[in-house]
Symmetry: C2
Subunit: 438 residues, 2 copies
Amino acid sequence: MLNFDILIKNANILTMNSQMNTFENGFIGIEKDKIVYLGIEKPEATSKTIIDAKNNIVMPGLINAHTHSGMTMFRGVADDLSLMNWLNNYIWPLEDKFVTEKNIKTASKLAIAEMILSGTTTFNDMYFFTGVTAENCKDIGMRAVLGEAVIDFPASVKKTSEEYFLEFINEYENDNLIIPSIVPHSPYSCSEGLLKRIKKLSDEKNLPVHIHISETTDEVKLIKEKTGMTPVEYLDSINFLNEKTVAVHCVHLTDNDMNILKNRNVGIVNSPESNLKLASGIAEVPKMIKKGLTVSLGTDGPASNNNLDMFEEMSLTVKIHKALNDDSTIMNAKEVLRMGTINGAKVIGIDNITGSLEIGKKADLIIIDINKPHLTPMYDPYSHLTYSANGSDVDTVIINGKIILKNRKFTNFDLDKVMLDIKHISNEIIAYKNNGMK
Amino acid sequence: MLNFDILIKNANILTMNSQMNTFENGFIGIEKDKIVYLGIEKPEATSKTIIDAKNNIVMPGLINAHTHSGMTMFRGVADDLSLMNWLNNYIWPLEDKFVTEKNIKTASKLAIAEMILSGTTTFNDMYFFTGVTAENCKDIGMRAVLGEAVIDFPASVKKTSEEYFLEFINEYENDNLIIPSIVPHSPYSCSEGLLKRIKKLSDEKNLPVHIHISETTDEVKLIKEKTGMTPVEYLDSINFLNEKTVAVHCVHLTDNDMNILKNRNVGIVNSPESNLKLASGIAEVPKMIKKGLTVSLGTDGPASNNNLDMFEEMSLTVKIHKALNDDSTIMNAKEVLRMGTINGAKVIGIDNITGSLEIGKKADLIIIDINKPHLTPMYDPYSHLTYSANGSDVDTVIINGKIILKNRKFTNFDLDKVMLDIKHISNEIIAYKNNGMK
C-alpha cells in the first residue's frame, strides 16, 4: 500500500509529455515535492489529502518565461504612448524613484499572486532587488528563475552592486524553488566587456543567461551602426550564445539570425501582447518553429501588457499567425500549449524537473474548472484551454507538491494585505505624477 | 424625496457619453427600466434596492454587435482547419443535423448566459429559429437584435419559412427587449432579387439589416468575377446600403469601399478574434475610423472564436493595430471601449436607448470588480478595462433596470440546467462525429 501526500482523482489529465499522453478520469499521486503516480488505474494507496478534480482539466503549471515582476506597481500608469515617450517620461523616471527594495518586496509579491491565480507555476524574471523577490517566492511557494538586471549603458534605472548579484547567486545555488540566473538587459545596454564577463560567469557556474534580443527595429539599427552586424550576429561574434542563453522577444530576426540561434541551441521566448502594445512588431514564430527552434512564451512586464495571464499569450500566438500567414492550419492548440508549458521549461533549462506531468518530476500542476458556460460543451480540452479559457478559470494550483491555491483561495498567503500595500505605493506614484514627476 | 427602484452608490462611473464624463464615488438612480439619476451628489432619495459598488467600475453594458448565439453547441468541435474543410466537413453537416428548434433553445440560452457573465447586455444575432432565442432573451432579461438568417445560395443549413420570419418581425415589433432585424447572410449567398426584397422590407418596416460583407479574399474574388465590382460596390449598385445596414467583418475593403460605406452611413462591426482564427485577415480599423466610419465590435460565433468575451475583442483591437502600423499611439483604451459600448449601439441603431450611461436611457450597466491582483493598482480605469480585465471580472449586470447577475450569480436563471442540457446535445454530436458524421 502506497502512502501519498496528495491524491488527485477524477481528473482529465493532459500530461504534455513528449507523447502528449492524456488520461480521462485519471489519478495523480504526489509524495513530498514529486509526482509518484499517474494513470487511469486507481492506485492502491492511502493519501493524507484527496482532491476530487470532478472531471476538470489537470495539466502542468504554465511557465511564464519572461517577465519583470516588480513592475506591477506601474501597471496602467501610462499607455498608448510612443516607446521613447513612455520610457523617457514615465517608466524610467518612475523606476528611478520607486524601485526600492521595500517597494519591490510588495510589487513582486503582487505579481506572484497574480501569476498563481492565472495558472503560472514558474516564472523567469528580469528586474531589480532580486533578493526580496526570491524571499517572496520562498514564502508563497512559487518556483522562479531569478537574476538581477545588469546594465552598463547609461540608463535611469536603479542598480544593485556586483556583490549583491554574486551573493544572490551563491545563496540560491542549490535551492528547491529558486534557480539563479544572470540577466544582462540587452546587447545595446551592455558593453562588450560586460557581456563577456557574464558569459564567463555563466560557463563557470552553469547559469542561465536571460537577455532581450532584437525587440525593436531601432535596437537592430543601433547595433548594426555600431558593429555592422545584427544583434544575434554580434552576440555570436563574441561567443556569447549557447544552450544557456534565454533569448527574449526575437521580433526582428533574419533567416541567418534564426540559423545561428538554432546552431547555438538558444531557447526563444516571445511576448506577443507586449510586442503588439509597444508596437515592437510581430515575431515570425511559425518560421522559428519550422527551423527547429524551441519557442516559449512570456507575458513581459505588467507595464507593457498589462496583465500576467499566460492564457492570453497562448491564445494570441495561435491566432495571429494564422491571419498573418493567410493559413488557418498554421500553429494549433496543442502546439501553443506546449509553448506555454514544456517549451518554457526547456528554454529556461528546467525541463528535467517541470513543464510536464511525468513520474519523478516535481508536482507543479494546475486544475482548470471547466464547469463554466464559456468552456461548455467539451469536445477538446486543448481547444478550450487555447481558444476559450482565461486565467480566471484556474481553480487549484500545486507547486513543488504544495497546494498553494484551492478554489481560487490562497492556502497560506494574505492577498488582501499585499493589495493594500500596493495601494500605498500607487498613492505615492499618483502624487508624484500629479506634481509633474518631481 | 425621490423613490428609486435601484440606487448604486460608491461607484467609479464611466458614462461613455459624448463628453466621456466620469464620476468618482458617484451615484446612479434607476426607476423601472431607466436611469433617472447620475452624479457625485448623494441624491435625496429612498430606494427599494441599494447596491454598494465599493469603488468598483460601473459602465454601460457591452454591445456584442455580431454573433451566432446558437453555435455554442459547436464550440471547439473543430479548429485549426482550412476554412473550406472546417465548413464543408464539420460546420455545415453539423448544422444540417443539429440546428433544430429544440437545440437552439438550449444553445442560445447558454450563449446568453455566457454573454451576461462577461458583461454583454445587448447582442446582435444572426442564426436560425430566432423565435426561441427571443423567448430566451425575454425569460432571462437580455436585450437583443434578432433576425432569421436568410440564404438562397445552396448551402447545407437549416432554413425556416418566410412566414416564420415575417411572423417574428410582427410579434416583436414593439418589444421592450427585442428588436427584430432582417439578416441576409452575405452578398455571395443571397441572390440580387432576395437582397432587393430585403431592402424593400427594411425600408417599409424601418428594420436593421445585418449582413456579412468582405470577410474573406475568396468572397471578394467571387463577387468580382460575377459582377466586376467589389462586394460593397455591388451592394451599392443595387441601392442596398444605408444607415440601417450593419456591415459585419469588412476585412477586405478598398478605399473606395470605405468611402461608399461612409457616404451611405453604414455602421461597421469587426470581429478580430474570429478573423485571425479563420485566417480571414485583419481589417484596417484605424483607417476606417480616420475616414469617419463608426466601427463596433462583435465576437462572431463560438465556433470561430471560441468564446463570447467582448473584453478580448477590445484588447486585441487596440493592440494589434499598433504593431501593424508600427505606431503605439494608434488607437487607445478610451476609443476601443467606445467601440465596445456606444459605437455598438450606434451601429445597430439603438444608441437612443443604450450604449452609454445617461439620464433617460435604459439602465443597461455592468459593475466590474476591481479588487483583483491583475486590476491593481488603479491609475486609469480605461486602461485596466482594455489591457488587463477579462469577462470574469464582471460582478453585477443590470439590463433594462433589472438585476440579472449579482456577485456573478444569476438572480433568476438556472445556469446548471442549461449546462446539463447542452451536454446532452454535445453527447449526440460526439456520437455522430465518432460515426463518421453519418
